[in-house]
Symmetry: none
Subunit: 400 residues, 2 copies
């Protein structure tokens, strides 16, 4: 349901909801064995849980849409990802655990290679190592702009984040990355009159940066895109009336959780230590977001076997997660990451919800094809939160 | 997904997509044998393809909506048929291969029978033969209207098309067909002030036509409806970044394809010769729309056996269609045409998509009931294009 309706119906109680997100959960059949990663993996604990749960498949964003981590998670947190968009600059900042302020404008930066005529010859400057980017970013920090503070942070390889901090800054700027080579990067243009000053400041920065990088062999230019301010989303605790806590090893997911108003436990650690942290914080929250990354990482690497192993690694944690005693426990994915594609995909993602209020279905394995027969059918991921709250008896009747 | 998002995500590559539309594909069980036309037909090639594809059922427009050819096809081309409407006047013009200009206003005309008091006694003038309509249309062509060119074309039986050509013409007119007998046909009224002049011209035409037909025994009146201009839809090649080609025997389907910006191969020929034309044009397009009419024609005739035979005729073409080597090949229907109903129906239509990126399902027959177990579930036909482009790797990731 829409957030507005959820806000009307939400009513607090002491029930606990645990959302386990296995990043990149779904997959595709292997060409030879015709079995998907989930089918090939030995997942006794998930299978047992499935036989005891209501199953189905979630459509992360829409038919044919392969989502990034942002929209994939926002949907599971109850936000329509087509309505609640997060700019790339903000996502990159979340990914390095940078604390954006509401008035900041953030952008994703790339070092690139330009030829003598200023044409782009490599948009990624040969993917220079992170160490080199760190040194170059250090030099760009010397740049001064009138009336604003300039913050630069290296990310990985040729990538970094640019943040402009000050009053009256606006997003709504075109990107300088033409997304192809052989052309001169265009200057930033304001898409709204209010953003004119910010556009001017960014172009000033680019000009100074180009001068500082002039003698570099490969990384002698900069490309900027995804200018964005911290979005102003309705906070989950407000419209769900739940205390919400996030438990994730990586900064991107902690950042996404903070974006929707969750309290994020410190990063780092590993999937097992995060379970312990959930247990230790059991009295502090009503809704727990537990994030498990290795399945997506293996899928993105195109490594079928590693993905199978990652799924088995998660399966081994399931008894401990169940022993927490949540009233409603879900296993979901933000999107599929088939090893065959080595990328996020649009395919619907297996899902299950365990509680005392679930209808019975005949699914007793946790795989893509088995979940097709689940009582939840194939449904939009943005409905997961509503379903969870309903199963936890946290929603009042609609209408008299 | 919406066309706006598709435009943002579309990225060209060399993959080929083949959409085979079996017009009126789905059916209903026969009262005695309890088997639908698809179940009764021997479809070995489609069954084999199903076992190798992802299956499902498409809802052409919405629950309970039996679509005409226009909305049925527009949905498969990615257009929400409730948002992108084509007036009947335009559809009739497409059906006779008439080249409408952007400023033309077209309407569907019927000859009807009026009694001495001007009341309608037969809305179809006894379905006079096409030859008679052709002669009567010839007489109506003598009518002159100030400042506009008048174009009349016979269609079939009592039906014809009226086109007003000139500057400043507007649609948004009420129909003169009251859709019942025993009443006087009302004059045309403008629904918008800009259409007042056009309404006046049409009423002038009707008055002159009535005089010219006065002495006819049956066809002594005219009824007009579906006043419409050529709609201005976003063209498929623009928002999909694909070169799109249409291969259809009948003008209506070539016309619908042209309406969305496809290049339409010449009409005529037969289902087999159209396959040859697709093969000959293989290098010219990225997206091929192949139209197969006989299943719908047999269904509309209420001829169960003929529909079974038409499906078998299509099945025999499947090996050749598959041998074209499309990266993504689909078999779809624009709607069901159950022989039992002798009409288009709202029933969801079997659908399959064949590619290397499809998830596995357990469907190994191509029938209405078998497709219910498909991994695609039952989904809106307007999502077919997004799915096809995703399976062809022609869509970028949404969000970071």
């Amino acid at each position: 349901m829409e957030i507005e309706l959820l806000r009307d119906l939400a009513t607090p109680n002491s029930a606990k909801i645990l959302l386990c997100v296995v990043d990149g959960l779904g997959g595709l059949p292997d060409a030879e064995t015709r079995r998907s990663e989930m089918e090939a993996a030995s997942l006794p604990n998930l299978d047992r849980m499935a036989s005891d749960s209501v199953c189905g498949l979630t459509v992360p964003v829409g038919y044919g849409v392969s989502p990034g981590s942002g929209p994939g998670h926002l949907a599971l947190f109850g936000y329509d990802p087509l309505k609640y968009e997060v700019g790339r600059g903000v996502l990159e900042s979340l990914g390095i655990d940078f604390d954006l302020r509401d008035t900041d404008v953030a952008a994703r930066g790339n070092f690139c290679t330009l030829d003598a005529d200023g044409l782009i010859t490599d948009r990624r400057a040969g993917r220079i190592p992170t160490e080199e980017t760190t040194q170059l970013v250090e030099r760009l920090r010397e740049i001064k702009l009138p009336g604003v503070e300039l913050i630069l942070e290296p990310v990985r390889e040729h990538r970094w984040v640019l943040v402009l901090r000050g009053e009256g800054l606006e997003d709504g700027l075109t990107q300088t990355d033409p997304e192809r080579e052989g052309v001169v990067p265009p200057p930033v243009r304001a898409l709204r009159p209010e953003a004119e000053r910010t556009a001017g400041l960014v172009n000033d920065f680019i000009e100074q940066a180009q001068k500082k990088l002039f003698e570099q062999p490969t990384a002698n230019g900069v490309l900027l895109r995804g200018f964005a301010k911290h979005p102003d989303f309705p906070p989950m605790p407000e419209f769900t009336r739940m205390r919400t806590g996030a438990f994730a090893v990586y900064p991107m997911y902690r950042g996404l959780a903070k974006l929707v108003g969750m309290t994020a436990a410190p990063g780092g650690g590993n999937p097992k230590s995060k379970v312990d942290e959930v247990r230790a914080a059991w009295d502090d929250f009503d809704f727990f977001f537990y994030h498990f990354k290795p399945a997506d990482a293996a899928g993105e690497d195109g490594n079928y076997k590693a993905k199978v192993a990652a799924l088995e690694q998660f399966d081994a944690l399931v008894p401990e997660l169940r022993s927490l005693g949540a009233d409603v426990m879900m296993v979901a994915g933000d999107h599929s990451t088939p090893a065959q594609m080595a990328a996020h995909s649009w395919h619907p993602v297996p899902f299950m919800i365990n509680s005392t209020l679930g209808e019975r279905d005949r699914v007793n394995e946790f795989t893509e094809t088995a979940c097709l027969a689940g009582a939840l059918g194939t449904f939009p991921a943005k409905e997961v939160l509503s379903l969870a709250m309903a199963h936890a008896n946290k929603l009042m009747k609609f209408g008299a």
